[in-house]
Every structure is written in structure tokens, then in C-alpha cells.
Symmetry: D2
Subunit: 335 residues, 4 copies
Amino acid sequence: MIKVGIYGATGYTGLELVRLLQRHPAATIAFATSTSQAGKTLRQVFPAAPALPLVAGENAPLEEVEVVFLCLPHAAAANTAMTALAAGRRVIDLSADFRLRDAGVYAQWYAHVHPFPELLGEAVYGLTEVFRSDLPEARLVANPGCYPTSVLLALRPLLLSDLVIDGPIIADSKSGVSGAGRTPTQTTHFVEVADNLSPYKVGRVHRHLPEMEQLIGRWRANAPRLIFSPHLLPVPRGILSTIYVTLAEDVTESDLRDHYHEHYDGEPFVEVLPPGELASLAHVTYTNRCVIGLTLVGRTLILTSAIDNLIKGAAGQAVQNLNVMVGCPETTGLL
Amino acid sequence: MIKVGIYGATGYTGLELVRLLQRHPAATIAFATSTSQAGKTLRQVFPAAPALPLVAGENAPLEEVEVVFLCLPHAAAANTAMTALAAGRRVIDLSADFRLRDAGVYAQWYAHVHPFPELLGEAVYGLTEVFRSDLPEARLVANPGCYPTSVLLALRPLLLSDLVIDGPIIADSKSGVSGAGRTPTQTTHFVEVADNLSPYKVGRVHRHLPEMEQLIGRWRANAPRLIFSPHLLPVPRGILSTIYVTLAEDVTESDLRDHYHEHYDGEPFVEVLPPGELASLAHVTYTNRCVIGLTLVGRTLILTSAIDNLIKGAAGQAVQNLNVMVGCPETTGLL
Amino acid sequence: MIKVGIYGATGYTGLELVRLLQRHPAATIAFATSTSQAGKTLRQVFPAAPALPLVAGENAPLEEVEVVFLCLPHAAAANTAMTALAAGRRVIDLSADFRLRDAGVYAQWYAHVHPFPELLGEAVYGLTEVFRSDLPEARLVANPGCYPTSVLLALRPLLLSDLVIDGPIIADSKSGVSGAGRTPTQTTHFVEVADNLSPYKVGRVHRHLPEMEQLIGRWRANAPRLIFSPHLLPVPRGILSTIYVTLAEDVTESDLRDHYHEHYDGEPFVEVLPPGELASLAHVTYTNRCVIGLTLVGRTLILTSAIDNLIKGAAGQAVQNLNVMVGCPETTGLL
Amino acid sequence: MIKVGIYGATGYTGLELVRLLQRHPAATIAFATSTSQAGKTLRQVFPAAPALPLVAGENAPLEEVEVVFLCLPHAAAANTAMTALAAGRRVIDLSADFRLRDAGVYAQWYAHVHPFPELLGEAVYGLTEVFRSDLPEARLVANPGCYPTSVLLALRPLLLSDLVIDGPIIADSKSGVSGAGRTPTQTTHFVEVADNLSPYKVGRVHRHLPEMEQLIGRWRANAPRLIFSPHLLPVPRGILSTIYVTLAEDVTESDLRDHYHEHYDGEPFVEVLPPGELASLAHVTYTNRCVIGLTLVGRTLILTSAIDNLIKGAAGQAVQNLNVMVGCPETTGLL
């Protein structure tokens, strides 16, 4: 049994992680922390949660665990990561603190100086399907953002192909409300969200943009730039990204489809949908799956990509990474 | 044209009132106040609102208006009411400050001493269908609570009959989330409400209980006590109350139904539903209507009563009261 | 490994059963049938389902399985049950065909003559917590209805006590839409359900009434009659029953609570909530749990009881019954 | 008073039209038809509708009215239009039968031969803001589709400018479920839609594509082609279109914005949103408004455009057209 600790168990991601780990046959939760709810049990915070005691972060028995998960706000995560690494623990960070490799880019998007820029180069970007081979040795894993997971898995085979892309890549993404976190705000009030649909931070201003472009740039030199338009959907969970890419040359949908199948056919959690089928939230909610639909219209490729933002977009992918890090079968606890 | 002012225009009730008054052919809004948003327009607060300037309460030009509506928190409402009355204005208060006639009961349920107990006897309880004749002379109207409107309109004909009731009256009520107000809380977070249904403050602990029992006691001496169980529904608006009353003697549904029709058949906003039809939110949302279904099963009468909590349960009934107060046709601006 | 077959896999209950059994470490699905979709896979019917082949019922290889689950319409279930029993298989029937012990009552509520009344006495009513000891030997299990599961688990300790009840028992129940089945109707159209709440068949006219009264009568002679009011909730899944019982004598909530704990404290899937906590859908959706809240107000007991209608109210309880029937730990595949 | 008739009053569009016309001070409904519900009242079909008698289409007293609205399926609409025109009535057709000017294109997309191709040239396309001057003389108005209304109003100022567009125009549209009509289908079942988001008919296969391209072609020769991706949203009503256009040259957002304001500033129902504000459903539901947001990111223009599909996208625009046709102020009954 691998003993793990969870920092920040009372957000939606933390709760989802607890649920997944409770079912996990090879992992056991040694502690769960909460700043605001220390002293209570998780059951007192969430009606459906197990009665896990919540301790303050500074009282967490780091020495008892092998791996810690960080479901903390930005900055707090970096500091806790450093503490855990210094104590010889391995870290899976679900915040954005170690996703960007360039401290300058981090400072620009997150409005504060990164406390440990020396760790940025070491952190493995935990898009499991892509960086799987780096995980067994990783001390520090930066679990990807929810939007980036849906967009990057859909784009990667295309970017690694030799097809030339014309004009910007457009990702029109729609996310359920749990992506906005559990802290109550006007924006997440039921009456403001229900019966509504709201785009926000469209274009090139959402913090997930540099994260996506960093990977896009790694997969293709001189890639076209990304236009990214998130929308707030009146559902609790799920992300659907509808992605538009115009190609500079003719290709058949069948060839493209073959190319995608080559990339993903062995993957337990990524499914390339059959011709004519488009991704929807119903394909993926409450699962660790990502489904990808391909539609080619002339030279415009329309990719539809769906994940559960709390699972494949956060806690599930974190467990998937844990499995690879510690040598369990990758699907353990996730089917 | 009757000039009116609105105190507290940036809650859900205030916004609904603005919408209704903007359509009202005989009323015009002279000012709208907001503590937190003064200096902005209402359009900057709500995407669908008109561009009404918001002023601080203390800067409201009371001298320009004939009637003021108070959509303020408890206690703040009483103070503003006194200021307006002292300036010779008429007041329609949508808070609970003048609904209870007994200052001791008020203190017990609202946890502070009523500042102007001398006004409690004067205030007309604005359940229009019942206290219509008191409105033309009223200086101060206490607009009923949303739950009480749905429950009291359904119970009144029964309580005024000579049918003996056995055991408690049970009101199982379900309300949309706008009833909880616009301030964001954990309870009203979209993710907590969606796909959920939560009873709360069941039995005899919700503040609307003494309001309902005060009226029940006025209509029938020694009435059985009320068990009132509110539930939070995953919808933005609407209240459905399912009410159970056991009678001590046999009666036919047809006789009961005739009795209800006698009470309500001339009413523009109350409809007794035909046999076999039960009240639902779809009957009433976005209207000022209350629909009432009757089902008699042996000696148990099941009343179903539905209103839109923001309209007949708040802003709509307030406008209905305004119409009667100033001598307009009662339905003006409400159809 | 226990091999099982599922008749009627393309309804919501069938799909849920497939999901649960796929995770079950000791059961394997040998076949799944569908009348309308035979020849397809379940994946072609539901985007998130596994690629299970669907065969016509008459082609199902009964000889390969030990137990069959029937997720069929009434009447079709009885016939298939007989076929399976005749072939020596054990049957868990999720329809209503074997829930009522009296063929006359069945005929009256289901409007056709029961084809095999001789089986009615043999069928074990599969409310696992209550009839657990009858399951290991059972050939035929009648899995309880969803509403009855929520109401009966809440009422049973009270009915088995010696507390005298005064007046009718009132169950005000609210169910998610999956309870109405997957066949599209006007009633289940998204636009009719969303933002709405509709009572239906209130009083003593819903088919689950005789099922509940049969058990109530078994637990207490001369029990008061049941008033049962179902409501259609705008959520996909979950049932909340708010139950009102007036007692003829004084008792303390604490004593009542002790009594409930005695009944349920060893149960893996039933939780008596702590004082002041009320049942909600969020306690139970996507689980096999039933949570029960108790509130005593004078002599009126308010029970709140919540289940997931597709799991504890159908497929989950069926798997719980399977576990007991075949000697697996009762929670296998259900945590 | 203008007397009007409504053919097909029992769909969502017909019901919305009844609601609007009942509030209209200058119009009165002389008849409403229904094929399936003739003999009932509209109140028996919809709980919130007025008690309007429903007659069979062939019994409608055409001679009593000046204008008829057709809320009929394709083909049925064309035949009824011809009957009404032959009787000297004016027609506002809410179906697609007269939207396309080319009978060949119609046959290709609607899979049957147009019965009256000679009328296609005469029909005025009822996008009121654009074809207002043709309405006073119009005998036959083709009310625009819901998606086209949201997309065309957003694109028109751009297309009429001299800015060169590079690559395809991409319209990623999201619609509430009432757009799919009231007939129950698997696709519109509450359980399939709730908590889901589904793209459908993406690219160039939805019937609204030729309608949009016809207008685009009228406004700009050699316009780039349109990629149109509709999505089914879990809300009852509203359409949001997020539109991406890449320009071949540099322009400032401020200049673009001025250009849009020039087009729309006098319009009562179209609002160009202030800088930084994006269109959402909350801006428009239950109104006849279209709001348009502009965001320029480098050379990519992101337009967000929102309407209520049943009002500005159908019944409301039909009333707006009626007002212009008969010489009423254009906003009559629509504020």
C-alpha cells in the first residue's frame, strides 16, 4: 500500500481525489489537510464524503507518506511542494505553480514572483499520455489544467503531423461550474448560472493560454497562435472543447483519423470516436476518459474533445500519474 | 403618473420590481438606491436591466415620490420606513419588519428589538386578496413573505369554513434559489444546488412560521398548529407548497371546491384549478398568479399551491398593492 | 466468478446495472438483451457505456448464467422470470411483477391478470436490510420500487416500535426524472421539466402505494393509512421523501434516535444522520446509500430519507441482493 | 385593432406568440389552430396559457383576420401560406419554407420539391433591422431562423465594411432545447440533456447554413464560407453564437466598434455591448433583444451574439415584423 497525503481536501478537486483514492486498492490516505476546516471531518463539510479527519497543513505527518497531492491555491502550492520535497516526499501538484517552465511567464500571468524557479525545469508536466516515461523517476509532477487537458490531447496528433496549419487555432471551450472552485462568488451563484451561458476571458487572456502554448510550441516549431474562448456552462462538471484548425493543404478525414488512431489506440483513457460521432459531456462525466471527435469540412478540421474537469482534468489524472509513478497498472482505481 | 422610489434595487426582488415598474403604464421610477453599488447604473449590475442610476439611500430624493418600495434587509427596512413616513411618503415594505404585529414575537424571531413597535399595529398586511379594502388608506404596507403567500392563499378558504381540522396542518414547501437572496453563500453555489434537493429548517423553526400562524390565528380561533418544511429546489424561481390537512368529518371534494371557487372566482391572480389538476411551477413562473389544486383523499385534503416567489411572492404583489393603494386597476402592469 | 444475464439493458436501470456489474470483482455479464436495439452494442446506445453486444431476449444464452436480472416492463418481466426459473436460473426482477403478494391487488393496480400467481408467495421482497436472511435460498427476488425503498427504510423502525400513531402517515416524495424511464414523453421533455416542479398522482393513486402498504401492514397491524404524494423534480436522479407521522404520545427525539440507531447501526448502506442534519440528494447520488434524518416537533415526527433512485432504488439494491444470494460480502462492487 | 390568426399554436413558438400577442395593445387573436389538439383550449395543453379555443386548420375563419402567423412544419407552412394569400391575407411564416430564394437549394436541404417556387422571390426575409423598408408592402414574410438571427445580426456590419476577411467564418453556436421543438424525442429527454452539452451537425450540414450563406452572399460578394457548429445546451431557451473572423489587415477594436455602433445605435432591439463585455444568455432571455460583444485579438475578431431563440429568434421578431407591416411603432408589445 502506498501512503499518500492530500493538502487542501475541501475544494472540489480535493474531494474528488478523496473519492478516487478511497476506491484505490493500492493507495491509502494518511492525512488530509484544510486551512479553514481543520478539526472537523470531511464528512462534516460534504454530505457524501467519508469521515476523514482534517488537519491543519502545518500539522500534517509528512513523514508517514510517500507521495503528497497538492490541491492548494497558487503560491501556497509552491511553498508546500518545497517543504515536501525537502522532506524527501514526491509531489503531485494540482495547482498551476509548476506547469510553466519559464519563471518570467509565470510572473506575468500569476502576478507574483515564483518562489522556487529552480524547480520549474525539473517538474514533469503530468499529461500522462504524453510524459508517461518521465513519471517513474519524477519527484515533482505538475498536473495539467483542465482546459489544457481537453485541448492538448485533441491537438497533439495534428501538431506532430506534417500537415501545415493556416491561420490561428481556435479553441471554443465550455466548462462546468466546479472548474471555478468552491468559494462562493457572484459568478457561481445558482441564479446567475442556471439558464445562462457566459463566455469569459476570450481570446488570449485566460491563464491556461500560456500553459497550452508552451506545449503546442514543444510539439511544433512556429505553431500558429491559439485563440482560446472559455464559456461557463450551467452544469456542475465537464468540459467540451470545440477546436477549429484550417489546414493549408488537402487531406482526407480518413487519413487524419488513422493518424489519430495510431496515437491513441493503446490508450486506456483516450478514445478517438468513430466517424460521424461528436464528443459530448455525456461521454465522459464521472470517468477519467477523454473522447475526441474529428470532422473535416473542406480544409477545416473540427475537433470535439470532452473530459470531466474534476477527473481527467484534475483528480483522476493525478491518480493516473500516481499509478505510473509508483509502478501500479495505470488504470488502477480509475475504471 | 405615480412617482415611486425603490430602496435596495440590486437584489433579485429589487430587480424584479424595476422590471415590472418599467412596464407599468401609470408608475415611474424616480430613484433606485443601492448601498454597495451607488454610482453605477443597474445595467452595470445586471446584464438585462435598464440603465437606471443607483444612488446611496441617504441621497435618495424622497420629496419627489409618492410611494417608496423597500427591498432592504430586516432592520434597515424599519429605519428607512420611518424616515419615509416622517416625510409624508407611503411605504410598501418587502422585508419582514412590519409583518408581525407583536414586537415580542418579532424580537424572538429576528433577534433584535423592533425600533418602531408603534407602527406594527398600523401596517396593513399586503396579501392583496385578503386586505384589499385596507389598502387605499394605508400609509404602510407589509408585503407578505413568499412562502406565506403560497400557503395562506391556499389555506384561507378552508380556515374560514366551519370544517373541523384534526391534527397539525402540514406545509411541505419547495422554493427556487432566488428566495435565498443574491449574496453568494456556500448554500447557493451552483454546484451545491444543481442536481440536489435539500430540506432546511423543517418543523417550526423558519421565520415565516410566525407570520403564517399570525394569519391562521386571525382566520380561525384555536387553529391547529402548523408544521412547515421548506426545501431548496434546483430552479431559479418559483414556490410549490404541498399542504396536508386532515378533516374531522366527511365532506365531498366537490363541496370543498365550490367553497374555494366562491372565495376566488373574481380574483384576477388566483385560480382554483379544475378537478384532477395539480399546481406546478410551470403554471406560474414569470407571472403574478397563484394557482391552487385541491385533492381530497378520504378525510385528508391535499392542497397544492404555486407562485413565482419573486413576483406574486414579492415584487408583483407589491405592485398589486400599489395599484390598489393609488386607485389604479389592480392588474395594471401585471398581465 | 458468477455469470449473470441482463434482460432489458437499454433503459436507465439496465445501464446502471451494467456499470455496477462491470466494476464488480466477482460477477461477469454473460449477456445483455434489448428488444429494440438487438444487434447493436450498448456503446451505440449510450455514449458512456461499454461495448457490450445486445441480443434479442429469445436468443439470450440462459444456460450460461447463474442469475438473471430483469429490467423489463411489467408483464414481460413475469414471463421472462418464468422461463428463467424453468431453466433453473435464479431471478432478480426489477419490475413490479412479483412485489405484490396478492394477485387480486396486482390485477387492480396493473390492469392485467398476473400470469403466474403461484410465484407471488415465493418471491422474496428484496429490501436487503429487511429480508437479508431469506436471500441465500431465494430463487426469485422482487427488487423493491424506488419510492418504496426510500419510504420503507425510513418508516420501519418506527412501525416496529410500540409508539402509537395518530392520523395518516404522509409521505411527500420528490424524484428525479430517470425514475420515469427512458422512453421519451411530453412529461419528460427537457423544456417541460427544467425550471419546474410537478406533483402527480398524489394521495392514494400511485402504483407504489399498495407495495408500501403491504410492507407497512406486515410490520404493524392496523397501521394508519398512507398518503403518498410524488413530485417530479428537475434533476436526473435521486429521491427525497419527507415523511410526517403524528404520534399519540410524548417521546423524546433522543429516544427515537436511539431506536433508529439500534436498527441500522450495523448496516453498510443505511445511515441515520446526526441530530439537526436532514437528508438531501447530495448525500446519496451515485451511491447505494440511504440516509435518514429525524426531527421531532412536539408529537410530529419528520423523517427525511434520500436515495439514488437508480442505485439503492434499483440497480444497486439488485446487486446488493445478488451479493447476499451468492454469498459475496454484501458491499462487493458497491463502495 | 389588427385581427390575426395563428396556425400551429401548440408548439413552443406558437405558445410564445400567443403570450406576446395577448399583451399587444393593437392586435387581437381571432383564431389559433392545432392539428392534434383541436377542440381543446390552449390552457389544456399548457398550464400557463390562456384559454384560447383551438380549431382545426381547415376550420380557421381566415376571412376574419388581416394577418396570419404560420408556426407549422415545413411544407405544411407553404400550403397554408398559399391558401391565406389566395384569400387576400398577409402571411408571416415562421417555418423555413420561404427563407431560401432558390427552389433548388430548398429541395436539396429540405428533401422535397417546393410547391410554390414562384413565391420565393416575393417573400421578404424578416430580419427586421435589415429589411424593414420592405415590410409595409409585404404580402409574405419569411421570419428568419433562430441561429441565423443571432449570427447574421452579428456579422452584417463587418460584411458591409471594406475589411478583407481571411479564411472561413466560424460560428460556434449554442442553443437551448426549445429550439428542437416540443415533440418528445430521445434527444430532448430531460435525462439526456441535463448535465450534458452536445455538438451536432457541425461544419456545413445544418439547414440553417444555406439560409445564412444566402444573406452573407447578398452583403458581400465572394464572402468566405461559413463553418457553423451548433451545440445543444441544457437550458430551455436562448442562443449564444461565438463567431471567429480573421481579418487580412490591421484595424483597431475602437474603429470596429464605431462601425458597429453606426449600424445599430438607433435600433430598439440590438445593443452593441461596451468594451470588455461579452454577450450571455442572461442579457436576453425573455426579451426581444440581440446583444453583440466585440473582442479583437490581433487580427481575429471574436463576436459574441445572444438572443432568446423563441422571441427575437422566432415569435418576437414575428411580432416586430407585424408592427412594421401594419404601421404600429416597432416596439409595440415587445418591451
